[in-house]
């Protein structure tokens, strides 16, 4: 028996809960067992109430060390169980930093900073392909503002990773032109900032985004 597949409501993948937040970003904690899903540049959503959810981009995943780990690396060969112990038991929670890039109110998507940040222990989900497409295609790439404003971030790498993710989704949702539109928008936004633009384009070039020639 085959299970009918549906694109409308794919099961959301919870990747963790909110640790701390501000209007522009938040940090979420997750268990190691949840770590294989989110990745750098991934789009996440934080539903706050029915019909209202906040969207963000993962721009950093921190794995902290401590005295024990530093001591362990001095040993000759670390046993596998010790490695697993330190990965799975001791690095809890793994922290992920998220840049807030917009929100959805009802059926409308806004590429603006959400009016209020999510709260402690709000659950964070990986956006489905459909959600990602809907968010990224709404308006005209207004959310790039938030990424480009964040000077401390590896902007080029973040955009390249993000676009690599979204391009895949957009292609499978019948919008193969998205990458080029997005790239054009970036070029427009960064035209007067040559060093940043070239850094971003360098990253996009490495991302193998399949531009039409």
């Amino acid at each position: 028996m085959s299970i009918p597949t549906t694109h409308s409501t794919p099961r959301q993948v919870e990747i963790g809960r909110l640790l701390r937040a501000s209007t522009t970003g938040c940090v979420i904690g997750c268990r190691v067992s949840q770590l294989d899903v989110p990745s750098f540049g991934c789009m996440v959503s934080i539903p706050l109430q029915p019909g209202y959810q906040v969207f963000g981009l993962i721009y950093d995943i921190h794995i902290d060390d401590d005295g024990l780990v530093r001591q362990l690396v001095t040993a000759e060969g670390v046993p596998e169980d010790v490695i697993q112990d330190n990965r799975q038991n001791r690095n809890v929670p793994i922290e992920m930093s998220v840049l807030l890039v917009g929100y959805q109110q009802g059926s409308r998507v806004y590429h603006m900073i959400p009016p209020r940040p999510p709260l402690t222990l709000d659950a964070i989900y990986i956006c489905s392909d459909e959600e990602t497409c809907r968010f990224c295609s709404a308006g005209h790439f207004g959310y790039f503002r938030h990424v480009l404003r964040a000077q401390d971030l590896p902007v080029g790498e973040l955009l390249a990773a993000h676009m690599q993710n979204v391009a895949r989704s957009q292609r499978s949702h019948g919008n193969p032109g998205w990458v080029e539109q997005a790239t054009q928008e970036l070029i427009t936004l960064l035209r007067d900032d040559y060093p940043t633009l070239m850094a971003v384009l360098g990253a996009l070039g490495d991302a193998d985004l399949q531009y039409a020639e």
Binding site: I187, D192, L201, L204, Y211
Partner: protein, 565 residues
Amino acid sequence: MPDFMTDPTIGYIVGGNLKDTLRVRLTVPAHEVQEGGFVVIASGPWQFYGLITDLELGATDPRFADEQSEMRLPRGLAGLLHGQTLYTNLAVLPSLMLESGPDLGDPGYEAWARTHPAGGGKAIPVKTVPAHHAPVRLARAEDVAAIFGDENATNFRVGNTREQGHPICLNLEKFVQRSSGIFGATGTGKSFLTRIILAGLIHSNTASVLIFDMHNEYGFDDTASDTNEKVVGLKTKFQSRVRTVGLGRGSTIRGLRPDFDLEIAMSDIQPEDIELLSRELNLKETTPTTLDALVQDFGRANWFQEFKALRNGAMIETDEGKKIPAPDSVAAWANKLGVNVMAAEGLHGKLSRVFELPYINEKPAANALAEIIRALENGQHVVLSFGEHERDLDYLLVTNLLTRHIRRHWEEKTNAFRTHGKQEPRPLVIAVEEAHKLLNREMASQTTFSTIAREMRKYYVTLLIIDQRPSQIYDEVMSQLGTRISGWLGDDADISAVLSGLAGRDALRGMLSRLQPKEEVLLLGWGVPMAIPVRTRRYDNQFWKELMGIEGKRGESQILKELGF
């Protein structure tokens, strides 16, 4: 509704001014447009028509231009970058604007359509500029037609736009209202273009045409100098509508006998005809005085014949053995009239070249001059071939003399028409090759040609001057030329001469100097709605087939009837 796919915009307005050119940011690859392209700009209720006069490469930051980023980035990505940071700007010379009214679906359309029952009306010279970001597209055939009209009997197609090949027509009725010129360096196809225009004029029957065919090219079939192919003559195609005239009794042109010969009666030669030859004959300043004395003594009709009869240097011996001028000598006549003997003898000597011209006779066999005038009056066209008399002397003397007579005749007819309500004179176009010989600065004041050029159509006579050195033509004449059709010109002075008195000279100058050496001309001047480069039609069988397929203004049978056949 314009179809986006078949009618893509090529750019949008980013700046410029009315005095010079508009700047257009190109949104298609630069190689898809060319200088001289005819573009249409839609802005509000107006459509603007203009010409691409320049293309310029630019970059938002010079670093984008300096860095060969296609080496660093994937091709597609580099393409996107270049698309936004590297650009081409067009310079567009705006010429005309046409009210197009609101869109069909616009609420204001109904009201506009009521006040404009005939649609947008006539294109007028630009008086404003299109808005920023107004879309620019290459003209479609109907745009060109809106400006240059559709091809018909009097709207004669001279060629096509260079890029898309839309037909460009010349309104012949307007063309003959002022004198016009065809220019181009040697070898640019001037004479072919002239044949085309003349064929159009003759076929449309807009005016009678008198062609001074110095090199015997137009009447009968000729052989092209460069391809050695047969070039069809006007007589061949138009038969009885074109009368061929040869200079001198029993003349032959390309081995054929013309319809009749032109002989000039001595009585027709006037002192001003001689004065016109001052440079050619190297006449002295005393010439006018001598000529005055001759006219006084012999009368306007006889002076030439009498002067010719005098013997120059003839002496007789008196009874005392003294040598004195003979009574029928020039010196004797000079002494009698108190004219300087040396001057009179000198003039006589120099006029000997004129005296010896075989086509000047005391009593021509027929009054060819009257015959020519009658033919022209009757709607026929005349090709005067100079046959073997190809010297400047022949050309200057005959063209000027003939033109003077013709003009006088037309002047009389015009006055009769205006004051007594007689028949309206038939418009006449006189085509003059090597025009600079007749219309240069020194001669312009003396010849009838410059008068005609200045008078416009007052007496129904205009000139079509054909020349390779427009700079040699008196600028007052040049500036009066309505329609100018110019092929490639290499000389800056020539280019300036062609453009004299026109708006947007600077923009057009470059275009003129970059025309293809053959089959490309710039159409400009009062007679055309706007300047435009044209790929001219070829003067070949196809041309004739197309031309003869179009019904003339007056039917062939009607013309024959008018001619009394």
